[in-house]
């Protein structure tokens, strides 16, 4: 069973790569590189030591922006989920800020933090902060009242109730929120790097085009972004398979 589960997606990817190869070969002017050329591009980047450097640079920015957002958004969201009045006060602001793309903040980020890592980290932070806050609020809302009642019945203090009932009860939904927010963060880091910094996968794409139309490297950057995105998502998904969390994801 396990082999088949891998076989189907692998086969589909192989099919797409072949289609890409054929289509690229039929171009009148060879602009879009063939899969093989992209592969050589990745090898070239690896040999020049740029591949690891750029991947690490991008992951570094995502990690800091994302962790900072999680550290602030989760307590805030839990608090707002518990206090209806506070949530009512905060909600309009959240809904106003939400539709503003993190990329719209780029000029202000540069103004505040200059051109560099800090700006990018700030943009990642912004991108993950609101979605995380909202999912934490909803996670608290969806806790069945009987868990809290049972907790109080056994004589838990407010503090114990938070640690022993509230946190574990919101965990499954919170992890879904964390996974979605990580996806957004990864989406935004690449965009932020196209403008604000001089390393990272986003920078690689823009730089390869500007410095001599190296479309093989442009696509190499895109492929790397996709593969790392997949790995991040798979990592977060594996959390959902933990035995103490599986109850939160429907029947299995």
């Amino acid at each position: 069973m396990k082999k088949i589960a891998w076989l189907a997606p692998a086969g589909f990817i192989a099919l797409l790569v072949i289609a890409w190869h054929v289509a690229a070969g039929r171009q009148e002017v060879a602009i879009i590189p063939k899969p093989w050329e992209v592969f050589l591009g990745i090898v070239e980047l690896a040999e020049r030591g740029l591949l690891t450097r750029y991947v690490v640079a991008s992951l570094f920015r995502v990690t800091w922006g994302y962790l900072l957002a999680a550290a602030l958004a989760i307590p805030l969201g839990l608090f707002l989920g518990l206090r209806r009045r506070a949530e009512m006060a905060a909600n309009p602001v959240i809904q106003i800020l939400r539709p503003i793309s993190p990329l719209a903040w780029i000029p202000i980020a540069i103004l505040w933090f200059g051109v560099g890592d800090l700006s990018a980290v700030f943009l990642i932070f912004l991108a993950s902060f609101l979605p995380l806050t909202v999912s934490a609020i909803n996670a608290v809302r969806n806790i069945p009242a009987i868990y809290v009642q049972a907790g109080t019945n056994f004589g838990l203090s407010q503090r114990q109730l938070v640690w022993r009932v509230l946190f574990p009860a919101v965990m499954p939904q919170l992890i879904v929120g964390l996974r979605l927010a990580l996806g957004i963060a990864w989406l935004v880091v690449v965009a932020a790097e196209m403008i604000a910094v001089n390393s990272g996968l986003g920078f690689l794409i823009i730089d390869s085009r500007n410095a001599g139309n190296r479309y093989d490297l442009v696509v190499a950057g895109m492929v790397m972004i996709g593969v790392i995105g997949l790995l991040l998502d798979t990592g977060m998904r594996s959390l959902e398979k933990m035995r103490s969390l599986r109850w939160g994801y429907g029947t299995d």
Binding site: P144, I146, Y147, Q149, A150, T152, N153, F154, G155, Q160, R164, V165, P168, A169, M171, R243, S244, L245, R246, W247, G248, T251, D252
Partner: protein, 264 residues
């Protein structure tokens, strides 16, 4: 048998009222309308007694249980347990919920040990082991609730409640979600635990058979606003023969009390 009955009544007579409800009324306000749910309920329950509160669905019997447990404040009247007025939930009295009351993020052991945080680690471990065995969940200590059957989950919840050694248990239609075969087994199980530990039990149900099989006394409630319509003493010792004339007589009496002929 006669001897057993007499010792039971003697014991009941000696112990004074454990729980007393005095004119408990409840009015819910929804969208400007006042809905009267409970109308001056007065009731005394003796220490160690098993009382079933029986009534049609939606009559307010769950509300009554929530008030006695301290989860809801009554609009009027008061509840006194062991000489103290009830002002909130208390670990000496544990509520067993209709279903899904166990914590899904904890294992069987974790659930049973949930209320034992004031005890030493050794004491916790020995109590957990004892109650795992008592409710027949050996071999499932490390299982999570979603890996258990409905009946096992319900036994787990009862074990979690008993583990903190409460004086009282409140059960709100605890077997309502189970199939009828499992339900019968669970009733026998509950009676075994009750005879072993002699907790005072308030048990809410809409199932007449269930009430007559389990209770020392059955409190029959009217439809909304709920009043106590009648209190029926079930003077049959356990284990009860559910085809004995006395059982059928009591059961049919309640059927008539509720206004149902027992022919379909």
């Amino acid at each position: 048998m006669a001897h057993m009955v007499s010792t039971m009544t003697e014991r009941a007579a000696k112990t004074k009222a454990k729980v007393s409800l005095d004119g408990v009324s409840m009015v819910f306000r929804r969208d400007g309308n006042a809905v009267e749910v409970l109308d001056r309920i007065s009731l005394e329950v003796r220490d160690g007694e098993f009382v079933c509160i029986l009534g049609p669905s939606g009559c307010g019997k769950s509300t009554l249980l929530n008030i006695v447990a301290g989860f809801l404040p009554a609009t009027a009247g008061q509840v006194v347990i062991g000489g103290e007025t009830v002002r909130g939930p208390d670990p000496r009295r544990i509520f067993v919920f209709q279903e899904r009351g166990v914590f899904p993020w904890l294992t069987v052991e974790g659930n049973i040990g949930f209320g034992l945080f004031r005890l030493s680690k050794e004491e916790q471990a020995s109590r957990i082991a004892y109650y795992v065995k008592l409710v027949g969940l050996e071999g499932f200590e490390r299982s999570y609730p979603h890996e258990l059957s409905g009946g096992m989950k319900q036994r787990l919840e009862v074990a979690r409640a008993l583990a903190v050694n409460p004086d009282m248990l409140f059960l709100d239609e605890p077997f309502g979600a189970l199939d009828s075969i499992t339900r019968l087994g669970m009733r026998r199980e509950l009676l075994r635990l009750w005879e072993l530990e002699r907790k005072t039990i308030l048990f809410v149900t809409h199932d007449i058979e269930e009430a007559v099989q389990l209770a020392d006394r059955v409190v029959v409630m009217s439809t909304r606003p709920a009043r106590i319509q009648r209190i029926v003493e079930i003077d049959i010792p356990h284990p009860r023969d559910i085809s004995a004339p006395r059982y059928l007589e009591l059961r049919d009496g309640i059927f008539e009390e509720i206004g149902l002929a027992h022919k379909i």
